[in-house]
């Protein structure tokens, strides 16, 4: 569960790096359901089938790249005994359940942005999903989307991945400028987040099979655009801003029963441990009454980490200050590479019990992490970054 991802995708650089346009990639079809897939995809978005790792486009001859792969599943070896893994997902020799690439995967579209998505310890499936986009220039433009599939519903693992990617694809190509002012840029980005949530919701609905428990998932997306951070969310997946020098902040307010209790004055720690703490009040899916994201924005005045995560992490560390401390202490061991740090945070959550799927997505904003010797001097004296939260009563974004 905490081994490196299967399929050799660590550090994969997407073709869109640098120009913000999402390249089409080679159009292939899923050997299982014939749905469209792109070279480099690890799962079919239509049916969730695992796809064989394909050679990178640079290495693949042009005539081969457009042809469907002959072998739908790459031969896999058992992690326990080295035997062959059968199509049913278990070893043909020792019967061990083979780790599925879906159980643990990573993304790092640019050196400053990365994510790790992991099954955790207790769950049999990884219904969390993450999708990232980043410009090559550190701090230029990044999109971090996390969706947490609702485990009581069918096919949530397939739906959550499709949703995260659909939202990412919308936000990767959108370049909201507004009318040049900070306020109109925020509004335009919030509008893009709404479109992204629409796309994500459509993706969930498209992957909903008939039955009593339709697929559903949470949604949180963070857009870094130079010094502007805008987040949008539905459900209880979160975005934090962990400034190197200022007060760490939780930018999202969970759409959850626990959050409602907190609003009513119950201490966070108690509310989040209550019996219904994980009951979410809003979600994406065919049965969602409303999937308009609530949004918040922040002016990133200094260096820090944008952390987007599922409850698999914050279950064990929720208060912004605790999260900041955790990230700070963890980075001392893992170093400041966001992929290493995200992996170390996932390991930490697994060490706490790994009760749920865990997703950690990080973007490093501003200067590299300060070294351990450069202690903060006057953090409390700095102005906290401006923080606004927009919850329009009619569901529209602010104008």
């Amino acid at each position: 569960m905490t081994e490196p991802g299967v399929g050799g995708v660590v550090g994969q650089v997407e073709p869109s790096v640098g120009d913000r346009s999402q390249g089409d990639g080679e159009r292939l079809s899923c050997p299982s359901c014939s749905g469209p897939v792109t070279a480099g995809d690890r799962f079919c978005e239509a049916c969730g089938a695992e796809l064989a790792p394909s050679p990178s486009s640079a290495e693949a001859p042009a005539d081969e790249a457009s042809a469907p792969a002959d072998k739908p599943w790459g031969a896999r070896s058992c992690g326990e005994c080295g035997g062959d893994v059968a199509d049913d997902g278990y070893c043909t020799q020792c019967g061990a359940r083979a780790a599925s690439p879906r159980d643990h995967f990573t993304e790092q579209p640019a050196p400053w942005v990365a994510a790790v998505c992991d099954r955790g310890v207790r769950h049999t499936r990884n219904e969390d999903a993450v999708a990232l986009h980043a410009g090559r220039e550190p701090g230029s433009h990044a999109v971090l989307v996390v969706c947490d599939g609702v485990s009581s519903s069918t096919d949530s693992d397939v739906a959550s991945l499709a949703a995260a990617r659909a939202a990412r694809d919308v936000l990767a190509v959108s370049d909201p400028q507004g009318q040049g002012t900070a306020a109109t840029r925020v509004a335009a980005t919030a509008k893009a987040l709404e479109s992204a949530a629409d796309a994500a919701n459509e993706a969930v609905v498209a992957h909903t099979s008939a039955g009593p428990n339709p697929a559903s998932c949470t949604f949180v997306a963070a857009v870094v655009d130079e010094s502007l951070l805008v987040v949008g969310w539905v459900g209880d997946s979160r975005a934090y801003w962990l400034s190197d020098v200022g007060e760490p902040q939780l930018l999202t307010i969970d759409d959850s029963f626990a959050a409602e209790q907190i609003a009513d004055g119950v201490p966070r720690a108690d509310a989040e441990r209550g019996p219904q703490a994980h009951a979410i009040t809003r979600w994406l899916g065919i049965d969602a009454p409303d999937h308009t994201p609530r949004t918040a924005s922040l002016d990133l005045s200094g260096p820090g980490w944008v952390l987007v995560c599922s409850d698999g992490l914050w279950n064990y560390c929720s208060e912004p200050r605790d999260v900041a401390t955790l990230v700070e202490e963890t980075s001392r061991g893992s170093g400041s590479d966001p992929l290493q740090l995200a992996g170390a945070l996932v390991d930490w959550a697994n060490a706490q019990g790994g009760k749920d799927n865990i997703t950690v997505a990080l973007a490093r904003v501003g200067a590299p992490v300060r070294t351990a010797t450069a202690q903060p001097t006057a953090a409390s004296g700095l102005e906290p970054a401006a923080y606004r939260e927009e919850v329009p009563p009619d569901g529209n974004v602010l104008s």
Binding site: C81, A86, D88, Y90, C91, T92, Q93, C94, G95, A96, R97, V121, R122, T124
Partner: protein, 425 residues
């Protein structure tokens, strides 16, 4: 085109240190078609009837009618023969001195019936010779895909040694399937069951000669509806694991464990004979080396193979947990069929003890059978047991052996002991 499915019913959760995984696998077949009409090859049917002296005039007449009824059910195009058996075996149809079979058509049917009409009762009983002749007759037609016989006897195998019968059974094993019937009270259930079990067939009692025709008709109709000539159950278990047993539990209890044929080091095949549109349940038990709590692994792949191709698969899993609410639950299907298998054993042991004059053991075993029949809701078994014992308290299994018991009732209880009721899923 026949399609198979395999559904698994089990509690996959094992406690810390737990090793034994039990599962019921329901195998269903649909679209089987008719015997001899699949692409796999021709079907063949042999009717083997007892014409020993003990059959007498009434029973011989009933046999003639039953054989004719059976021949009416054999589909045109299916290879056919009739064997008359006493202390030796005689090929009654096709008429002639050579080992042969003929394809059924109107003319063949008329000739076969005419041959049957000449049967007379004479001589002793040596069932081994009947089986040996049937084996040779089937072998006279090359390339048969599906071979089935019906065997009727009315007496004990007196004119050959048990060893001779065993040798004949071994010679016939795997060559053809055979449903066996005994008419009247003078045959031995255990002896005939030995034949039926080895030849993947059923054993049953025909209490009165006049019931024979309907019974034969039913057997052949079922045989003709089995369009899948042969399927085998394959059980894979991981390295280091042990298959404790493989048992058919519905419609009847049959221990398949000793029938294992090795496919590879980890997989055994258990022949199940021909299939029509039907479901059969299997109880598979596997012992695994225990893993740590939180670990999951596959305990068994239970597959159906037709012509060496796997056509259905069910997965039996093991997951170690320290959650008692998960690990202490017993799957209802496993519980039900465990009880039914024990019921069959208790009845057979009880009747054997009673026959040997061991009244105490018979009372205990049959009492346990009464208790299990009540627990598992097997009302038919309870009704049959009631004819052998007086039930004082079914819940505790307290019974008394009846003083005068009809031999036929005892045999009915014995032959029906392996029939199980289906669990409500």
């Amino acid at each position: 085109m026949a399609t198979f499915s395999a559904d698994v019913y089990q509690n996959e959760f094992l406690p810390d240190g737990g090793t034994d995984v039990h599962a019921i696998v329901t195998v269903s077949c649909a679209g089987a078609g008719a015997a001899g009409q699949s692409e796999s090859g021709d079907a063949a049917e042999i009717v083997i009837v007892d014409t020993s002296g003990s059959m007498g005039e009434d029973k011989i007449r009933a046999v003639q009618q039953a054989a004719a009824a059976a021949l009416d059910q054999v589909l045109d195009g299916v290879w056919c023969a009739v064997i008359a058996g006493n202390h030796q075996a005689r090929l009654a149809f096709p008429v002639g001195s050579e080992l042969a079979m003929v394809r059924m058509d109107e003319r063949a049917r008329a000739e076969a019936k005419a041959a049957v009409a000449t049967f007379w009762a004479d001589g002793g009983t040596a069932m081994g010779t009947w089986l040996t002749l049937a084996t040779s007759v089937f072998a006279s037609v090359p390339g048969l895909a599906q071979k089935h016989a019906i065997l009727l006897t009315d007496g004990i195998n007196q004119h050959e040694t048990p060893e001779q019968l065993s040798a004949a059974i071994e010679n016939a094993r795997g060559q053809f399937q055979c449903d066996c019937r005994g008419v009247g009270a003078d045959w031995q259930v255990a002896e005939v069951r030995r034949i039926a079990t080895a030849l993947l067939g059923s054993v049953d009692l025909i209490a009165r000669p006049e019931e024979m025709a309907a019974d034969f008709e039913g057997i052949i109709r079922q045989s003709m509806s089995r369009g899948v000539a042969e399927a085998s159950l394959r059980v894979w278990a991981p390295q280091g694991a042990q298959v404790l047993f493989v048992r058919q539990v519905s419609p009847t209890v049959e221990d398949l464990t000793p029938r294992r044929q090795e496919v590879n080091a980890l997989t055994g095949a258990y022949p199940t004979g021909s299939w029509g549109d039907e479901s059969r349940d299997y109880h598979v038990a596997v012992r695994l080396p225990a893993k740590a709590v939180g670990q999951e692994q596959l305990a068994s792949r239970v597959q159906v193979a037709v012509n060496d191709t796997v056509v259905a698969q069910g997965l039996v899993k093991a997951m170690w947990s320290n959650d008692d609410t998960l690990t202490t639950r017993i799957d209802p299907a496993v519980a039900h069929y465990t009880g039914q298998a024990e019921l069959a054993e208790a009845i057979q042991d009880g009747l054997a003890a009673k026959a040997a004059g061991d009244t105490d053991t018979a009372t205990v075993k049959l009492g346990r059978a009464v208790q299990l029949a009540a627990e598992t809701g097997n009302d038919e078994a309870t009704t049959r047991l009631r004819k052998i014992v007086e039930i004082e308290d079914a819940g505790t299994g307290t019974v008394r052996l009846r003083r005068s018991v009809s031999k036929l009732d005892e045999m009915a209880l014995d032959t029906a002991s392996t029939k199980t009721t289906r669990v409500k899923k």
